[in-house]
């Protein structure tokens, strides 16, 4: 780990101002960033601790939605009574990720900005365009069993591994962002980018912008469910996941961002069966050999989850 300076922010404005300095990074729970710093995958020179800013509140909004402060812990969100009653898919998704220790420490904002678990990203002796732009993609012709099936590029085939973000995508959440130019809101689906030629640029956040909250609209009508497939029962990134909230469907670990299955939703709305609907979505998927299985896996998993949510909603 390289030497760095540290400050504990006392206000959102102060944090955002401090973040304009080159080499500065926000830190909250640090469950991902500290690992990356130890491996020198990330080498910030200055850390701004936003974990203790007063933005951990979870409050209902006037329109019947929910505003979740960005520094709320993953555990606090998953165990929140309103979340459990009205947004169970979010609670289920959060507890499907990490371990209890990680969820106690990890923040909502940090969870959204966690970085991929691609082995070539973690191994600093291998090429990775995300870690070292221009070095190439070690995974493209490598051991890429868990690579993306949607929206990948020749520069990067990594996936976004947040479980929480998949549920938020299905629920139509947006994030509240504060930057030098003031406060604005970004739909969650527009927060993360596809890799294109610049996989090291992962979000549409401008430099120094801080996520202060996640805002959920009122829950859609119908059942909700989250299903995740992983190689072991806990503490493992997913091979694929699906979040269903009424007629809204999002897929996880299949792309560089949480993937809202718009094609499938459209088909469902016009009366297609769950299997037919997800088939429409997967018509746009492509795989590389080792990750071929993800296409039938998603087909089966999503059909089962959509059916389950439908039954719940009846």
């Amino acid at each position: 780990m390289k030497a760095f300076t540290y400050e504990r922010a006392t206000s959102v404005e102060g944090a955002v101002t401090a973040a304009q300095a080159p080499g500065a990074r926000f830190i909250a729970g640090g469950t991902n960033l500290l690992d990356l710093m130890k491996l020198e995958i990330e080498t910030p020179t200055h850390l701004i601790d936003v974990g203790r800013l007063p933005m951990a509140e979870i409050v209902e909004t006037p329109d019947g939605g929910l505003r979740i402060g960005a520094s709320a812990s993953n555990t606090a969100v998953a165990s929140n009574a309103t979340v459990r009653a009205r947004y169970p898919v979010l609670s289920e998704a959060i507890v499907a990720g990490g371990s209890p220790q990680l969820r106690n420490k990890a923040s909502v904002g940090g969870n959204l900005l966690q970085r991929t678990r691609c082995a070539y990203f973690y191994d600093t002796s291998k090429p990775c365009n995300k870690r070292a732009p221009g070095s190439g993609c070690g995974a493209l012709e490598g051991l890429n069993r868990n690579a993306a099936i949607f929206g990948a590029s020749h520069a990067c085939i990594a996936t976004h591994t947040s479980d929480m973000a998949v549920a938020l995508a299905a629920l139509g959440a947006s994030v509240e962002v504060v930057g030098a130019g003031g406060t604005h809101s970004i739909p969650l689906l527009e927060l993360h980018r596809l890799p294109g030629e610049t996989p090291h640029i992962e979000t549409h956040l401008a430099g120094g912008e801080l996520i202060t909250a996640v805002v959920l609209p009122p829950p859609p009508k119908g059942g909700q469910t989250y299903r995740k497939v992983r190689d072991r029962a806990s503490y493992a990134g997913g091979l694929a996941s699906v979040a269903v909230a009424g007629g809204q469907v999002a897929l996880g670990m299949v792309a560089h961002k949480p993937w809202r299955a718009a094609e499938a939703e459209g088909a469902l709305a016009s009366g297609a069966s769950p299997a037919e609907a997800i088939g429409k979505e997967l018509a746009g998927a492509s795989s590389l050999g080792r990750n071929d299985f993800k296409i039938p896996l998603v087909a089966r998993l999503a059909a089962a989850a959509i059916t389950e949510a439908k039954e719940q909603g009846q």
């Binding site: 390289k2 973690y122 069993r145 299903r227 497939v229 029962a233 806990s234 091979l239 039938p296 896996l297």
Partner: protein, 755 residues
């Protein structure tokens, strides 16, 4: 030399077990230290002065040469005290050199040359004032390589594999003929991946010098070879190395040898005149230490219609390092398992540009049972027989390879009792018949076998004026319970409470023992301890009966009893402390030793077990969850029900890992393993293990050693993974013969079945 019949005929305090301490599930001797974080592991030992921190740099090629070295930037980095490569490392004797002909290990020079023979090989070393500075500077060392194309593709090199050095296939009868003439035949191939030990404590060393003596704390399973090897590498006398390994966070075979952390810590401490610590990172452990090599195993079984095996063969292909000869003997265990007149077993080895292969918990059995015990399951189905019954029908009356009688063999009892306790009769022989919610549920079983060994060892016992017994032995406790069982043997032998026993192990200055490995530790170290304890009893009894001030004076020393810290003869007694205070106020020390019996080879001595597993398979996703697991084992007298059970259940969990998740994938472009941390190398977590139990049958194997005990450290691992695989098949009807059985592989089978 002693004979097995002496052991059988002679009573001793462990057999008598008057205080009932033998077998009792007493808590770990060092448990409070470990759970309070106060057991100093090698890296945490407090040195006499502030240490410097060494960090190793691993090669980023698998094979080739270092053609240029630039350490200027690293040397100029903050806090850096030394930067070494092959160009400037202190001189060390050539590899394997022995200045002392009887050294158990030769020189193992670090940063030996410009030659790189595996990815991650330590090729540079940085020492700095802090770990952070050393780590940061280690990234500034610039090495230029002339890399060759790595030859690491095991699957593509199978046809080049030859017989391991000095080995031949073992054939009894005529396998080909027997197989061809068998009415029911099975011929299938299984593959197991390269695996890493993933001990909780990575390898680590701390060294300092006191004049010309090197004091080295390290994490190692065997003390003497480590001491000798370090002395030879440093070019000093063996007695000038004091090697200590008090607490060890897991070994599993991976710490059966030293690595460059120890050599470099000692060399740097000498060069810098201050203590130096060096540890492997978790990532460095994957390449930089040994691994269990991958195997491909072809099993052929030919049976009569009643299930009796007529022909049996297991052939194993495996790999080792280009300069090595380690062979994963995955076929050997099968030689003692089932009867069959026509038998063929053997191994093929191919050398690759991969890191060094070596032993890992239950070497041989762990991989081998993953094929044979599944083959038996498949054969049982072909025959329409219950898998338990098939094994019973092939139970041999004597060792089927060499005809030796079994010292003890309760395999059938393990299988029968396990089947009953588990509810095996509820298993449906046809797969895919049982559902619980979205899960298909199935049961599987497998047999377990592992050899038993006794090696030469010494031990000393002391008693002091407070009546405290101190056990001293150059033995190790790698988390197995060695401290605890030695304390139990001492307390039982001398008739004192456990609180009056001190155990000192893990030190090269103590009477030598072979250490921990091959599940020989408890039997070997414990038998030496019993011998030392018997000698101390004799010395105390003679002291008492010849002391005119003792109430026991003039009695027969052979009749003296030891109980509750009191020595007695009929109705005359005094405390042990009183006797020692009068006669040996500075304490009394005696040694004892154990050697294998001269006739031990007349018997086939093994440990046995039966595994029973219930799994759920999600037919939609191919996910597998272990629901319950039972192992029933027969392994001689059990010294400690708690630590032995922990060893056995730990081994069973390893089996779950091998079946479902563990394995390092090799990227052939680099000659490198890709998953290098515990988030990517998947060992089971708590949620993967359902209801888990291990039962130990009452057994005494007096032919094994004077205590009638046998090892359990590896037995639990033998067969456990196969039982999981068989349960998966019973649940969903898919056989995956390429481990681990991950959802992608199972899904392909489920889809092919139309599920």
């Amino acid at each position: 030399m002693s004979s097995v019949s002496d052991w059988e005929a002679t009573a001793n305090p462990v057999k008598d077990n008057r205080a009932g301490l033998i077998g009792k599930g007493v808590d770990r001797y060092e448990g409070p230290l470990k759970v309070t974080g106060t057991a100093p592991y090698a890296y945490e030992v407090q040195p006499p002065s502030p240490p410097a921190y060494g960090v190793m740099v691993g090669a980023t090629i698998a094979t080739g040469r270092i053609i240029a070295v630039d350490t200027a930037e690293a040397e100029a980095a903050p806090g850096v005290l030394a930067v070494w490569t092959h160009l400037n490392v202190p001189a060390q004797p050539p590899r394997g050199a022995k200045a002392h002909p009887r050294s158990t290990q030769g020189s193992k020079p670090a940063l030996e040359s410009d030659k790189v023979t595996y990815w991650g090989q330590p090729v540079a070393f940085v020492v700095a004032d802090t770990l952070e500075n050393a780590t940061a500077a280690s990234h500034l060392v610039k090495l230029t390589y002339d890399a060759d194309t790595p030859d690491v593709n095991f699957a593509k090199r199978l046809s080049d594999a030859g017989q391991p050095p000095g080995e031949q296939d073992v054939e009894i009868g005529n396998f080909d003929e027997g197989f061809a003439n068998s009415p029911v035949r099975l011929d299938e191939t299984w593959a197991t991946p390269l695996q890493n030990h993933c001990q909780m404590e990575p390898c680590a060393s701390l060294a300092w010098w006191e004049g010309d003596r090197c004091i080295a704390h390290t994490s190692i399973q065997m003390v003497k070879p480590a001491q000798h090897g370090l002395a030879e590498t440093l070019g000093i006398g063996r007695d000038d190395v004091h090697l200590l390994t008090r607490y060890i966070g897991g070994g599993f075979g991976g710490k059966g040898q030293t690595y460059d952390d120890l050599t470099l810590a000692a060399l740097a401490a000498r060069a810098l005149g201050r203590p130096v610590k060096v540890a492997f990172t978790r990532q460095q452990m994957m390449h930089g230490t040994i691994h269990r090599p991958a195997t491909v195993m072809r099993v052929r079984l030919g049976a009569e219609k009643d299930g009796r095996l007529n022909a049996f063969s297991i052939m194993t292909w495996t790999h080792c390092h280009k300069d090595g000869s380690f062979t994963e003997h995955a076929s050997n265990f099968a030689r003692a398992l089932y009867a069959a007149p026509n038998r063929l077993t053997g191994h093929r080895l191919v050398r690759l540009d991969l890191p060094h292969a070596g032993p890992m918990r239950a070497p041989g059995e762990a991989s081998g049972t993953m094929s044979l015990e599944c083959a038996m399951d498949e054969l049982a189905e072909k025959l329409g027989l219950d898998p338990v019954e098939l094994r019973i029908r092939n139970e041999p009356p004597a060792d089927p390879e060499n005809g030796r009688p079994f010292s003890q063999r309760q395999l059938v009892r393990c299988l029968k009792e396990g089947a009953q306790l588990f509810g095996w009769d509820r298993r449906r022989p046809t797969p895919g018949q049982v559902r619980d919610g979205r899960w298909l549920v199935g049961m599987g079983m497998a047999a377990a076998i592992r050899g038993n060994f006794l090696l030469p060892a010494k031990c000393s016992f002391s008693v002091d004026a407070d009546g405290v017994i101190t056990v001293r032995q150059g033995m190790t406790d790698i988390g197995t319970g060695t401290y605890t069982v030695l304390a139990q043997i001492a307390a039982e032998t001398l008739g004192v409470p456990l609180g009056k026993v001190v155990v000192e192990i893990g030190d090269s200055e103590l009477p030598p023992a072979p250490g921990s490995g091959g599940q020989f530790g408890a039997a070997t170290a414990g038998s030496a301890a019993l011998a030392a304890g018997m000698n101390l009893r004799k010395a105390i009894a003679e002291m008492a009966t010849s002391d005119p001030h003792s109430p026991l004076h003039a009695g027969d020393p052979a009749e003296v009893t030891f109980q509750d810290s009191v020595i007695a003869l009929e109705n005359r007694s005094e405390t042990l402390a009183d006797l020692i205070r009068r006669n040996a106020p500075e304490g009394l020390t005696v040694e004892g030793e154990i050697r294998p019996a001269q006739d031990a080879q007349k018997w086939s001595t093994q440990t046995y077990g039966g595994h029973f597993v219930e799994v759920g398979v999600d037919p939609v996703t191919g996910e597998v969850r272990v629901r319950r697991m039972l192992g029933v084992f027969a392994a001689g007298r059990i010294l400690n029900a708690k630590t032995a059970k922990s060893q056995l259940t730990g081994g069973m969990i390893w089996g779950v890992g091998s079946a479902l998740g563990e394995g390092n994938a090799v990227d052939p472009r680099y000659g490198s393993l890709i998953n290098q941390d515990l988030a990517q190398y998947l060992v089971p977590v708590q949620a993967d293990i359902g209801d888990l139990d291990a039962i130990m049958l009452d057994e005494v194997d007096d032919k094994a050693n004077p205590m009638g005990i046998k090892g359990v450290g590896e037995l639990g691992n033998s067969g456990a993974g196969a039982a999981v695989a068989n349960a998966i098949y019973n649940a969903c009807g898919v056989r995956v013969r390429d481990y681990p059985i991950t959802p992608d592989k199972l899904l392909a089978g489920l889809i092919a079945q139309g599920r």
